[in-house]
Symmetry: C2
């Protein structure tokens, strides 16, 4: 039986779950892997805070040195969050040759590759399964079972809050505002929901996914971003009639050997598995050249699902034997990022047009200018002076569309309300 000594930073939602699982499952881990774990020290921010009674018995301090300077601690679990204190904790731990497990998407999103390098220089492991999609074991799957494959595309519902809001709007014909309020009441959304509804949280996770699938540390500024604040009941019903659902998707797609990244409302065909992911659940759809389309579905957050991913990392770390414990198996790659010419997709475009003879003629001229072809057009009965026009185009690039948008912005009597992409469905798992 090998005993591992653990120091945990933080004793909030996830850390409390980790402490409980380690307590409840210890006999199982002993039997399965002949290992035991001992939480030697916990470091928190506020010593006076009341803790879950199930964590009583833990040694708690507010001094980071009690972990960082303790040579008896083999493994540090960072569950503080944020980019500042956590970064110091992780760097110091790795340099002290302690393995690190974290759930910190904010930090790993931009520093994952750098910190992993620091880990391997110090011959220790850095694992962070819980940072993406909480309880879903997607990172380890990409790093092991899909290491054999050539990933072509990733599309994920990886922000539970925004998916909850869109699902409730759809199921209960609610407004965005009411669904947001409900999400806040249920504890799924914070008072300031910006990170969730504008795609920032999903972009962090996409940065990590892209690193695992394509071997590239992504900057958030290279991700095309769009949020869900302006989506209305009318939009959801329009697209449903056309056979789609609107989902806030994180997308990483190889188009013509370039990597296109976005987090944006995306039209998903009704019969696609991502379309039926409801409420706060997450799902990541991965298309591999060989494996074809795989989807990993489950809870994207929550005390126990997230803590379970942390503990799975712990077991994986101690089971990795003499091999350097590398979490992300994808080597650095030189894939370049897609430009406006490469970003090709069908579009869903909603406009309001002043109701006047020749309005549609004028509108269609704008698109003709860039050779963009319509697959579907709906013009609705005018409300007052204006009429709503909904267009689905054939595949067109941003390079084609951008001048159209600029022209429309300058034109009178016409305004673009939305411009969302349709999900690209690659072949994958080709049979020849």
């Amino acid at each position: 039986m090998k005993n591992y000594r653990i120091g945990i930073f933080g004793l909030g939602t996830v850390a409390t779950g980790v402490a409980k699982i380690l307590k409840e499952q210890s006999h199982i881990y002993a039997e399965k892997f002949a290992v035991s774990f001992e939480i030697v020290q916990v470091v928190v921010h506020n010593l006076d805070k009341k803790r879950d009674p199930k964590t009583s018995g833990l040694t708690i301090s507010d001094d980071p040195k009690t972990i960082l300077d303790n040579p008896d601690i083999d493994i540090v679990i960072e569950l503080v969050g944020g980019k500042t204190a956590a970064k110091t904790i992780i760097e110091k731990s790795l340099k002290a040759k302690k393995h690190v497990i974290t759930a910190n998407k904010d930090l790993i999103a931009s520093q994952g590759r750098k910190l992993s390098r620091l880990a391997s220089e110090n011959h220790v492991g850095l694992f962070y399964e819980a940072a993406v999609a909480g309880g879903i074991p997607i990172l380890r799957a990409l790093s092991t079972s899909l290491a054999s494959d050539d990933i072509e595309q990733i599309n994920g519902i990886i922000n539970g809050t925004s998916n909850f809001i869109l699902s409730q709007m759809r199921q209960k014909q609610m407004s965005y505002h009411d669904a947001l309020t409900l999400a806040q009441e249920k504890g799924f959304a914070e008072a300031d929901p910006t990170n969730d509804v504008d795609g920032i949280d999903a972009a962090y996770k996409l940065q990590i996914l892209a690193d695992f699938a394509f071997g590239k540390q992504i900057n958030q500024k290279d991700i095309q971003m769009g949020g869900i604040r302006t989506i209305t009941q009318t939009d959801l019903q329009d697209v449903a009639e056309l056979g789609y659902e609107i989902k806030l998707l994180a997308n990483a797609t190889i188009i013509a050997n370039k990597l296109a990244l976005s987090v944006e409302p995306t039209l998903v065909p009704k019969d696609h598995p991502l379309a039926s992911v409801q409420n706060e659940n997450n799902a990541v759809f991965v298309t591999g050249k060989y494996a074809g389309g795989l989807m990993f579905y489950g809870p994207g957050a929550g005390e126990f699902p997230t803590a379970n991913s942390v503990v799975a990392d712990l077991l994986s770390l101690v089971n990795s034997g003499d091999r350097p414990a590398v979490f992300n198996s994808h080597p650095d790659s030189e894939v370049s990022l897609a430009g406006p010419k490469d970003r090709i997709a069908s579009r869903y475009i909603v406009l309001t047009v002043t109701n006047r003879p020749g309005a549609m003629h004028k509108l269609s001229a704008f698109f003709l200018m860039s050779n963009i072809n319509f697959r579907n057009i709906r013009q609705y009965d005018p409300i007052g002076e204006t009429t709503r026009v909904v267009i689905i185009t054939y595949p067109a690039s941003d390079a084609q569309l951008n001048p159209v948008k600029t022209t429309i912005k300058q034109a009178r009597g016409v305004k673009i309300i939305h411009e969302f992409k349709l999900l690209i469905e690659p072949k994958g798992g080709q049979r020849d």
Copy 2:
């Protein structure tokens, strides 16, 4: 760079895919893992058969000794199928201290634990990700990411043929017979579809899944079996109106600390992720005490998806370092099998009743006898002499239901057409 020498038995669908992937991806594996693979020898049944031109250059023989007696071969890939020749091949390979990778569900279903023991006695690995759900990395997920959890339930759509048939019946209002013919035309079903439509193939895979999730080698006779041959359009429409889809599910559920196993048509609520799995796709829904409900979805068969799983095993094997390469991390367990009293579920029961005053009164007396409560009853307009009655019960055990079935069998004017269970939805991922 470490070079591994491989011998492959078989050069059919999957083996051809493996040879192609190893050729196309070799530079990637060299870069990622500093390994190279060399297919030293292939053994087939019929030397005269024409092979895929992309496999030209391989050394092919019909003599098993060319692999088994070749001390230069480190790894044997068995892609012959069946229980006889394959068993000899695997046993001899392991005893010759060669690692083995196979996709052979028929054999592993009953011999998995025994063969794994033989492997570990000989300090080699035995991997078989492709044996369950083709391209979906479910076994490795259970063995690694979910090793930390306590699995409560597994429900899988793991026979693509029967799911294709049920999906087509549902989408196109086809009869079972027409959908089967279509499946045969598309190459999804064999001339004799017994293994697929009666649940035998799914049962093999369930045996393997149960071993990974619960640590028990299951006998096929301990699995309650039911097939899809007798399902009609009327059934699909009945259950749709009640809010369900009928799926051929493989189920392994812990009820009151006992393990209940079945492969049978099961009613899945429409908003459950398994309900929307269409056509030949597979999906395995796993409920863990901590992780909650996770679903793994993808292609359950096909040249490249299946071959990709084989190659993933290969990489996992060569990356396992000094640790004994154990594929199934669950130790032997003493969990006992559920008996009729433990098998508790709501039921969907379809009967025909001779249309006579008091018929429903008599029918309800049968169920009252066993204290079985109805949640939903529909009696349809009679066709000729008989009327169709559809009942959904509250949870009841087989022990309660069996005497009712026996009594009904002996009674006149009433006949049970179907008795399917409703999907049990466990809590899992509990938050407290």
